[in-house]
């Protein structure tokens, strides 16, 4: 019988860890800068999820406040990052992150 399964905090944390792992893997293995960017967003939101879960568990509003900061920073980062990516795309037909190595030492 299926009892009312009440999700515990642990579930959220596990989900956050999984999302974070997927994001990390995405950044490391994908070459398309846009997809790498999305992966980073995934990592950020994984962290947000853990913040909210722990805030609810501990009854501390500060965790939720931090999430707003993360969202704002993420938004700003998206603007800058997308701007860079778009301007690179305009110059080159097809781009992989590995090709952008002009600043190597």
């Amino acid at each position: 019988m299926i009892a009312a399964v009440v999700p515990t905090t642990t579930w959220y944390l596990v989900l956050a860890a999984v999302l974070f792992g997927i994001g990390t893997l995405g950044v490391m293995v994908r070459r398309n800068p846009l997809v790498m960017f999305m992966s980073i967003e995934l990592m950020l939101n994984a962290v947000n999820l853990s913040f909210v879960a722990l805030a609810s568990r501990l009854g501390d509003i500060n965790g939720q406040v931090v999430v707003f900061f993360v969202l704002v920073v993420a938004a700003a980062e998206v603007v800058v990052g997308l701007g860079i990516i778009v301007s690179i795309m305009r110059r080159r037909a097809s781009v992989t992150a590995d090709d952008l190595a002009d600043l190597r030492g």
């Binding site: 293995v29 800068p33 790498m36 190595a101 190597r104």
Partner: protein, 640 residues
Amino acid sequence: MADLLWLIPALPLAGFLVILVLGRRLGEPGAGVVATLATASSFLVVAATYFDLLGRPEEERNLVLRVFEWVPVGSLKVDMALAADPLSIAMALFVTGISSLIHLYAIGYMKGDPKFPKFFMYLNLFVFSMLMLVMGENLLVTFLGWEGVGACSYFLISFWHDRESAATAGKKAFVTNRVGDWGMMVAMFLAFSAVGTLSYGAINHAAEKGQIAAVTATGIALMLLVAACGKSAQLPLYLWLPDAMEGPTPVSALIHAATMVTSGVFLLTRMAPVLDAAHPWATDVIAVVGAATALFAATIAVAQTDIKKVLAYSTVSQLGFMFLAIGSGAYVAAVFHMITHAFFKALLFLGSGSVIHGMHHEQDMRRMGALRKVMPITGFTFIIGWLAIAGVPPFAGFWSKDEILLYAFANNRALWAVGMVTALLTAYYMTRQVVMVFFGEARWHDAAAAHGAHGDHSHEGEPHESPWVMTAPLVVLAALSVVGGGMQLPFSKSTHWLEHWLAPVVHGAEADIKGTWAYDNKWWLLVLAILVASAGIAASIAVYSRGRARPIEPTVLADGWRYDSLVSAVVGGPGRAAFQAVADADAGIVDGAVNGTGRVVLSLSGLVRRTQTGFVRGYAAIVGAGAVLVLAWFLLRGWT
């Protein structure tokens, strides 16, 4: 009157600026007239200041005008301040007075020169600098003028710079003077570290109160001597002055005889209390330098054939007399001789310029002779100048030279003997010059024929008398050379006018010779001086006019004891090698250390740079690994 002091240097400066802007439009003789008026009006202000001071009691004869605060840096506070006291006004009087006459003269002498306005621009700038030098209230203002007159001297010596020799002579004067400037700067540093100010009043006051240690005062005195040797052409730095004769003759008269070269003597007199506070051997050094230079230059003058070179070496020799006076503690006599020398040496130089002008730029005395007939005014005034410098009473030079020799006798008889020999030689070589130029037979017909053949002069090559603008200053200076001795006559206490006038400035330092053997027998010394001068004149007339003996003019003297080539050899050979070694050490060691640091950093950064692969996913992996490591470290350490 004090608030009008700024006018004294400002008027020549204004003349300089006007000619700088409007020079071409003023042209000839407009620029010369402007310059002469600027200097002459400055002379009038100085004269007014003189009478103002004269009307005050002795202790109030010291006006100071602070124009603005010049250098306020920490404890170093230097004002742009002018001072009018007996010494500076005495200097300013004869500087502006003689300058005005020479400006007037130059209008005639520089006639037709393509750079006519520029010449007067430099002359006015020179007068401005010279007035800053003598009227400065502190060492730094004097130094400003000191450098200014040096620069103007350079401009004017190499005025005809398309002549190789003139350009070289200008450079030589500039570089040699730099050695003296070094001395002046070190003296300023020493004075500042000892007293904490550069003001003459404060430094001299401290020296009189004994607040300057004798060692420090000696150091300052010796560095001032170095400075004075450079500017006043004393051994071993005299050798720029004879070469400076490459400049136009009014410049030789103004800068290299009457005014600038006396600034060394002025500086030493200005700092008399410091010299007095020094160890006694410091002033002995000054006296020995002066006596040695006087004799050395007089021997060279005996064998010169260039009319201006004789006068140049004579100037060096007479400046040596002034240094001898200062070394003997006779500051009044030094200033006295400085003023009379300015009169008669300016007269002699302008007279020689008139001869050169009349002879169409011939300077060799062997091609002159009998010129008194064609140039009566020049000849007559030149003869007065000759009598004045040779020490014939009652002309000006006799009184001042005798005063110096009197103090020298009281101080050190050996130096007095050197002075007497120099006086003998002075009478000898000046008579030689007068005989060669103005008497005897005319030897200029050949030269005149050569000039005539070239056809470059409309006067058919004959010598001619100069125009009135040139002879008028000669007459004025001749009159001054006759009566100039009246400033300081040895007859009684009341005839020592210059001594009374300068008393507030030099009172403490002036040597007191009352009661010495020399003072008691000063009339015998006077008679002896007259005999020596007469002997020199008689010997010279016997040799050069009567032909009783062959002239003694060894080439070693004509070459100035080969001192010039010796200096060239030393500085050009080992000196140059040493400078090259210093330059190499600078390039190798000092620059090497700097460049070496750069090279080490560069190679280290080359290693670190390799980590920047430009491989974005690689960076991400490193960031990830770093995060894991930090996390692991916290976990293992235990969460606290």
